[in-house]
């Protein structure tokens, strides 16, 4: 979160960041010195010759500087704005445009339930486009990537959290549309006469604008997909198998749904009025179901990460295979505990406690450790082909087996 209140002088990146040091002369409170003047005993100055010889002043044991900063400044809105590069600024503007288009579709949907459902989808797209932009901008700052004591993994997990929130939006939107649809049907069943006239009126209004609506939806989706790489990361985690064979962005379920449904809606006005009425509801129901199932999958995929689990690369199976392989290494008696989990889209952790056989020498130990980490990285890192690379941070705790 970017808040005005925090860290006014924080932005590490901003060029005009205020100097962290204060070079002005400061008057340190003089009272204690004064009070001591009359009654000074012994040596107060550790650099006086006496002190140096007699070690009256003991230095505190030297402490190395902390490895990690306790916490890093969170950028404020202003700093974030200043840190924007040119292309980032363009992306930000486009994100705003996308939201505006979603609003436009929502208001132009008029009486068509399907168009309203489409506007929900576009809202979702716009939302995750905005998340993409924000993530991009925050990437300018150190808090984002660097770990501190406060945020051991930086703030990058926030992206997953935002994605999870978006998936809640999908679920909610799906439910909401369904209930709207239900109410509509109930109403039309309740009073046939009145409703029919109603419906007709809608048709005339919407027939003209539906084309415009779907065109806007398609255009904005395409721009976001190519310009922002919208949904790219989450799609990699999910990988819907039956869409995977489709070309480029169509293989991404999010883009697929938006494009598919907007094309469908563009065709709607061509149909006869009586058919239109029912098709409209049908499409709305299908969209809401699609939103619901998609939302479910996204929520699960991201929920797993938030629960500190590893689900990628067939998750459990992959991990078991790797563990078996590690166990078969010479010198390893057994694995005492292994924790494989995904921190965020780009980082996984593997923490192993390994019992090694007695008499293993140190050099070999280092090599063993390296072997284990390259094994894990190669097996689970999905480095090749997919273009995505997940980094594995491997920690191996070795204990010498004393039982033998």
């Amino acid at each position: 979160m970017i808040s005005e209140a925090e860290s006014p002088q924080g932005g590490s990146q901003a060029p005009a960041a205020p100097n962290p040091f204060n070079f002005q002369t400061q008057v340190i409170s003089t009272t204690p010195v004064k009070s001591n003047v009359g009654q000074r005993r012994g040596h107060r100055y550790k650099h006086s010759s006496v002190s140096a010889q007699h070690q009256i002043f003991q230095e505190p044991p030297p402490r190395p500087p902390p490895v990690l900063p306790a916490s890093l400044p969170t950028p404020t809105l202003k700093e974030a704005w200043k840190s924007l590069q040119r292309d980032q600024r363009m992306r930000l503007y486009w994100g705003l445009c996308h939201v505006a288009i979603a609003m436009f579709i929502f208001y132009r949907s008029g009486g068509s339930l399907a168009a309203m459902a489409l506007s929900h989808l576009v809202f979702f797209d716009a939302g995750s486009a905005a998340v993409c932009v924000v993530v991009d901008v925050l990437g300018n700052f150190e808090v984002w990537r660097r770990s501190s004591i406060r945020h051991p993994f930086g703030l990058e997990r926030a992206e997953i959290l935002a994605g999870f929130a978006m998936s809640i939006f999908l679920l909610f939107g799906g439910f909401d549309l369904l209930s709207h649809n239900l109410k509509h049907i109930l109403e039309s069943v309740g009073d046939h006469e009145a409703h029919h006239e109603h419906e007709h009126a809608h048709d005339h209004v919407s027939a003209n604008s539906l084309d415009l609506v779907s065109a806007a939806a398609i255009a904005s989706t395409l721009v976001s997909a190519y310009g922002l790489k919208n949904h790219a990361r989450i799609a990699k985690v999910m990988r819907v198998s039956y869409l995977a064979t489709l070309p480029s962005i169509l293989s991404n379920p999010f883009h697929f749904f938006t494009l598919f449904f907007s094309a469908l809606i563009a065709l709607l006005p061509l149909l006869s009025i009586s058919l239109y009425d029912w098709l409209d509801r049908l499409i709305c129901a299908v969209i809401s179901l699609a939103m619901f199932s998609l939302g479910m999958r996204v929520a699960v995929a991201q929920g797993l990460m938030l629960l500190m689990s590893y689900g990628g690369n067939r998750g459990d199976v992959g991990v078991s295979a790797v563990l078996r392989e590690i166990e078969s290494e010479s010198g390893i008696a057994r694995i005492d505990g292994a924790q494989f989990w995904q921190v965020h889209y780009g980082l996984c952790m593997a923490n192993l406690k390994v019992i090694i056989t007695n008499g293993y020498d140190e050099l070999a130990l280092g090599k063993l450790r390296n072997r284990i980490s390259t094994l894990i990285q190669n097996r689970l890192g999905e480095g090749y082909g997919n273009g995505g690379n997940v980094r594995w941070e491997v920690t191996v705790e070795t204990t010498v087996d004393t039982t033998i």
Partner: protein
């Protein structure tokens, strides 16, 4: 009995077990004696104000009459291990705390603000050793009783117990109160008779058996044996939180069915759409229930840190959902205001929303006390006043005791329950706003009341969901809270002080979800040439364990730069330096 034991044991929070042993049997005996001699009531009355009196009276009367017969009958239900927990737990702390309380006299009760559970605990311990404690042995006993009751939570039975002693409890363990709420719905059915039974048994000294019974409402105990065949259902009913959610969900669902049926029969759109709304509530509750059940699942290879975060996740989801809902409500309200839609069928709307309000009020009571420290005071008062006549209030009082034990076991704050509570609260507010706006509209014909009320409620919901979302987001981001961070910095600096350690790298620590201030994490330690790797690792491990950190420690020889942590350092540090200056 055996089978029932085996099932829940896995589900139970760890904390409880430890306590069981600690319970000194002697306490029970002494207590018994005091009761029979009637010395206790008089003493208590002296010390404490009127509220105390109620309790006592109750106990005595009951205990005598029922003791034997009922006590026995109940003891079988005790199946659940949880009972044991409750007992044991209460004894150590309460006994002491009780004595303290009595010493302080009734005034303390009121004066003592709601202290954190931990604080009160420690107080209790301290008091143990004071001379005062000795003087007031009788008092202590009395207290102990209460405790056992509290644990039992349960509603029905407990009440009597609670009341007697409640005073002490409240003062010391404000936190307890939280949990109480659960059982309310249950309790109603059966409470009175049972109350007595329980009390009696206590008096007799079969405290364990009693405590068991008291933990759950009669209703729960009645159906529990039948659910052994369905492990899922059993595990839901065996746990306090999930049980509460489950019962309320059932109530909600039943109400939804009735509403939908009547709506269909009478062709009423208002009823039908409200039942759709109810259905969504049920779904939200179902998610919460799922989270409550899942949170008890053990660690596995797939979930190396267990499911402690599930409840936080569900709380987060609930918070987001509420925010979305409030935005939608506000949207619709503006739309209506814009179009000037007239609200139709006021009467029907009024009836429907009052019914919804009733259901949600039950839910509010069920979940209400959970997270607020403040409520303690409240519940207390209630329990006293009502103990005689009303089952409801009793339930509350008893609950509190329970929750305490539980809460400690898992986590200070349960985001799941908080999310559900907020959801129910939002629904209640919604019903209230509809009722108010229909009344206003029927008096003054202006159609703007409803949108106005909706907007108001929407803001309220949004604001109330905000803190929940933020706190759960922080936990999900693995943020180390401020107080812990401060300690952690010192602890980390201490790693460098260990013999043989040259430096350490990539310390990453995060909170363990299973309670307390414990941390989990990793650290890479560089060991000086000449020091044994193994010994140094053991030293660091011991040091960290002493500080409450369970870490995976990788030891590297000084100068061996093979690990990624050194690469990371080389990469990360220079740019950082340049950025900072």
């Amino acid at each position: 009995m055996d089978t029932s034991y085996s099932l829940p044991s896995s589900a139970l929070p760890h904390a409880h077990r430890a306590h069981t042993r600690s319970q000194p049997p002697s306490l029970n005996n002494t207590w018994r004696m005091t009761v029979s001699s009637d010395s206790l009531p008089s003493q208590l009355e002296d010390d404490e104000d009127g509220c105390g009196d109620h309790d006592h009276d109750h106990d005595h009367g009951h205990s005598h009459s029922h003791l034997r017969s009922k006590g026995y009958s109940h003891s079988p239900p005790p199946l659940s291990p949880s009972f044991l927990h409750a007992h044991s737990y209460s004894y150590p702390h309460h006994g002491r705390s009780g004595s303290q309380a009595s010493n302080a006299s009734a005034t303390m009760l009121q004066e003592k603000p709601l202290v954190g559970g931990i604080e009160s605990r420690s107080q209790g311990r301290r008091n143990r050793y004071t001379p005062e404690g000795i003087d007031e042995t009788t008092h202590n006993h009395a207290h102990n009783h209460t405790h056992s009751h509290d644990h039992s939570h349960d509603h029905d039975h407990d009440h009597d117990h609670d009341h007697e002693h409640n005073h002490n409890h409240d003062k010391h363990f404000p936190s307890h109160l939280h949990s109480h709420s659960h059982d309310h719905s249950h309790d109603h059915d059966h409470d009175h008779d049972h109350h007595h039974d329980h009390d009696h048994s206590h008096g007799v000294g079969t405290s364990t058996g009693h405590s068991h019974g008291s933990e759950r409402s009669l209703f729960t105990r009645a159906i529990l044996p039948y659910t052994v065949g369905w492990p899922i259902l059993y595990s839901i009913l065996a746990e306090k939180d999930s049980r509460r959610i489950f019962y309320f969900m059932t109530l909600n669902f039943g109400f939804m069915i009735i509403q939908a049926f009547y709506g269909y029969v009478t062709d009423s759109l208002g009823l039908l759409s409200d039942s759709i709304h109810m259905f969504f509530d049920c779904v939200a509750l179902l998610v919460g229930l799922l989270a409550a059940v899942m949170s008890k699942w053990p660690k596995s290879q797939r979930f190396p840190y267990g499911f402690g975060k599930v409840e936080t996740l569900s709380g987060f989801a609930n918070g987001i959902l509420l925010m979305l809902l409030s935005v939608e409500i506000a949207f619709e309200a503006f739309e209506r205001l814009w179009e000037g839609t007239q609200t139709k069928r006021l009467g029907e709307l009024f009836v429907v929303s009052s019914l919804g309000l009733a259901v949600n009020l039950v839910g509010m009571m069920a979940f209400g006390h959970h997270h607020h420290g403040h409520d303690h005071g409240h519940s207390h008062g209630h329990s006293h006043g009502h103990s005689h006549g009303e089952k409801h209030d009793h339930g509350c009082g008893s609950h509190s005791g329970h929750s305490h034990g539980h809460d400690h076991g898992h986590d200070h704050e349960n985001e799941n329950m908080r999310g559900i509570y907020l959801h129910v609260l939002a629904d209640t507010l919604g019903s209230v706003s509809v009722i108010v706006s229909t009344v206003l509209t029927s008096f003054w014909g202006w159609s703007g009341w409803d949108p106005l009320a909706s907007c108001f409620i929407a803001t309220l919901i949004f604001l109330s969901a905000q803190p929940l979302v933020f706190s759960s987001a922080k936990r999900l981001l693995l943020t180390v809270p401020e107080g812990v961070e401060y300690n952690l910095r010192n602890i980390l600096a201490g790693i460098g002080q260990q013999r043989g350690v040259v430096s350490y790298a990539t310390p990453k620590f995060w909170m363990d979800d299973h309670g307390g201030e414990k941390l989990l994490g990793i650290v890479h330690v560089t060991v000086a040439r000449g020091a044994a790797l193994e010994d140094t690792k053991d030293r660091v491990r011991e040091y960290l364990l002493k500080e409450g950190i369970d870490a995976v420690i990788q030891v590297e020889r000084d100068g061996d730069n093979g690990c990624w942590c050194t690469r990371g350092r080389a990469l990360v540090n220079p740019p950082q330096m340049s950025k900072q200056f």
